[in-house]
């Protein structure tokens, strides 16, 4: 591994993000703000959803405006099983992941026949459909949601998600795994196909790629990864509700990806940390924190193209800059 990269501004920033996540359970009590450990657990769960969105949006150019629906599907897999007294993770988790993948397959198969604004609208429509479905099912709490009495049970001695630190580091390890999988995948042949299809889909067809199947596969992988975020969220909050798949959360995910740096591996984590910390801090200062937060978001979109990662990359001597 090339350690030189750690000395660049981006390298330092990205290392800092990971270190913050690792040490937050000790940093938070040390600064007398215990609840920051919880905040960071939540941040990393949202980051997993953002990482999965970045895979299709940042690398594949598919702007899904309904991505949060997969968080909901993963979450309800835990909630519904738990409400029937089935707590085994070996049932909840595979079903949650498979259902996320299945819904992604159906939504993707239809949405990917369109592009641009139509793709955005169709993914939004599907997500809202499933949102209203979850609101309408009274058996599972409709819009009050479902309280989960027991977290997923892995049946492993000394490994219990009810332990706060175990839960925290389960989230951390899975988030890092998602980052590594994304990095591996975007550099593989498959990853090159979806990146090239983002760059120039028509040319891909004329040099021999039926891109639809590749994009659909990426959409399904992203859906399942996002479902994982939902599985974790349900366990972490001991609660699921239709709100977790409401369109505003999909919008926040898009913003987190853009803020952190679309199409970069670590962008979504940075975006999630900045976005959620800022809303946490600002909402503690004033009730009308949206008045500050809104303009901030607009400024970032206007002036920091490429997000934080893109901004820091400007300080690097890129080999690509020579022409």
């Amino acid at each position: 591994m090339n350690l030189e990269i750690l000395k660049t501004p981006r390298g330092i920033y990205n290392s800092l993000l990971i270190l913050l996540c690792i040490f937050m359970p000790w940093i938070a009590p040390a600064i007398g703000q215990d609840f920051f450990t919880d905040v960071f657990g939540r941040i990393m769960i949202v980051a997993i959803a953002a990482i999965s969105l970045n895979l299709i949006m940042g690398f594949g150019g598919m702007i899904s405006f309904g991505h949060a629906v997969f968080v909901g599907i993963g979450g309800y897999a835990v909630g519904i099983f738990a409400s029937h007294g089935i707590e085994s993770a070996y049932i909840q988790w595979p079903v949650g992941l498979l259902m996320s993948g299945l819904f992604a397959l159906i939504i993707g198969a239809i949405s990917l026949r369109t592009r641009g604004v139509y793709f955005i609208m169709i993914t939004l429509a599907f997500a809202q459909m499933i949102y209203f479905l979850s609101v309408s099912i009274e058996k599972y709490g409709s819009d009050d949601g479902l309280t989960i009495d027991a977290r997923s049970d892995f049946g492993i001695p000394f490994y219990d998600l009810n332990d706060a630190l175990t839960m925290y580091f389960t989230v951390f390890v899975l988030m890092v795994a998602c980052l590594l999988i994304t990095r591996k995948m975007v550099n593989s042949r498959f990853g090159r196909v979806i990146r090239a299809a983002k760059s120039n889909d028509e040319r891909m067809h004329t040099i021999g790629y039926p891109t639809y199947g590749y994009k659909l596969t990426a959409f399904v992988i992203a859906g399942m990864m996002c479902g994982l975020s939902g599985l974790l969220s349900a366990n972490f909050e001991d609660f699921v509700s239709p709100d977790m798949m409401f369109w505003t959360f999909s919008g926040e995910l898009i913003f987190i990806v853009v803020l952190g740096g679309m199409g970069t591996i670590m962008g979504p984590l940075g975006g999630a940390i900045i976005f959620l910390l800022l809303s946490e801090v600002l909402s503690n200062i004033t009730n009308s924190w949206h008045l500050i937060f809104g303009p901030f978001l607009i400024l970032v979109v206007l002036f920091a193209r490429g997000g934080v990662e893109g901004f820091l990359a400007k300080f690097e001597k890129s080999p690509e800059a020579k022409s």
Binding site: R192, T206, E320
Partner: protein, 248 residues
């Protein structure tokens, strides 16, 4: 008798009331360079769109290399051995020059559902891509971002990407458009050296290049082939001279 590589019969394409391709018949023999010339709006690029599968034809048939491809997808036509280049440069701007060409190589190496191995370190892809770049004289620019190439170089890359799919037949849509004289003559020489290796359908406004390269020329006006013959025959054709070539 020479084998027919491409046979277009009664091909038609309407855009509303406009007839872009009007019962067009063209035969291209294996190994020949067949130029299609004609004034602007004659339907040359539409023809390439139809041949490459980007536009569905209203009627008519296209046979290529012994099989009917009239309803085949673009990607499958490419796999069958027919590849097009673009008049307006169509490349992967945020990829390096080498990776642009490597995408074409990767396409002919079977499916790309390979999720793990780092393709950037794939010696097969990079090696073959580099060979194509050497042929096109772009090898020194291999690591440069395609977007940062000079216009003429992008035009060369455009052709390199088509060549890298290892085609039997090239559909070249104004390959010399926007090139300087030096690059233009370089590409002309290159295409000449490839004569016989690839069958080519060439659309080009540079008449020097057309008459230097083409074995046969079809003159297209309002979607119809008004003349077809050797460069000498076309040069001698009074109708074509008046309609298109001018009297100089």
């Amino acid at each position: 008798m020479t084998e027919i590589m491409l046979k277009v019969e009664n091909l038609v394409k309407h855009f509303g009331g406009l007839v872009a391709t009007d019962s067009l018949n063209i035969e291209v023999e294996q190994g020949e360079i067949h130029a299609v010339i004609g004034p602007n709006g004659a339907g040359k690029t539409t023809l390439i769109h139809q041949l490459s599968g980007m536009l569905e034809s209203d009627s008519g048939t296209i046979h290529f290399d012994g099989q009917e491809i009239s309803h085949m997808s673009s990607a499958n036509r490419c796999h069958a051995g027919m590849v097009r280049s673009y008049q307006i440069t169509s490349i992967f701007k945020d990829f390096s020059v080498l990776d642009n060409v490597a995408m074409s190589i990767q396409a002919r190496e079977g499916h790309s559902f390979r999720f793990w191995k780092n393709a950037n370190k794939d010696a097969v892809l990079a090696g073959k891509a580099r060979e194509i770049l050497v042929e096109m004289g772009l090898e020194e620019r291999a690591e440069v971002l395609a977007d940062n190439l000079a216009h003429g170089e992008q035009r060369q890359l455009e052709i390199a990407m088509a060549l890298a799919t290892d085609p039997k037949m090239l559909l070249l849509d104004e390959p010399m458009a926007g090139m300087g004289p030096e690059e233009s003559s370089r590409v002309t020489k290159y295409l000449e050296s490839m004569k016989g290796k690839y069958t080519m359908l060439l659309i080009e406004h540079d008449m020097d290049a057309v008459f230097a390269l083409a074995d046969r020329i079809t003159v297209l006006v309002y979607g119809q082939a008004v003349a077809c013959g050797t460069p000498e025959e076309i040069r001698g054709n009074e109708e074509v001279r008046h309609a298109y070539l001018g009297d100089d």
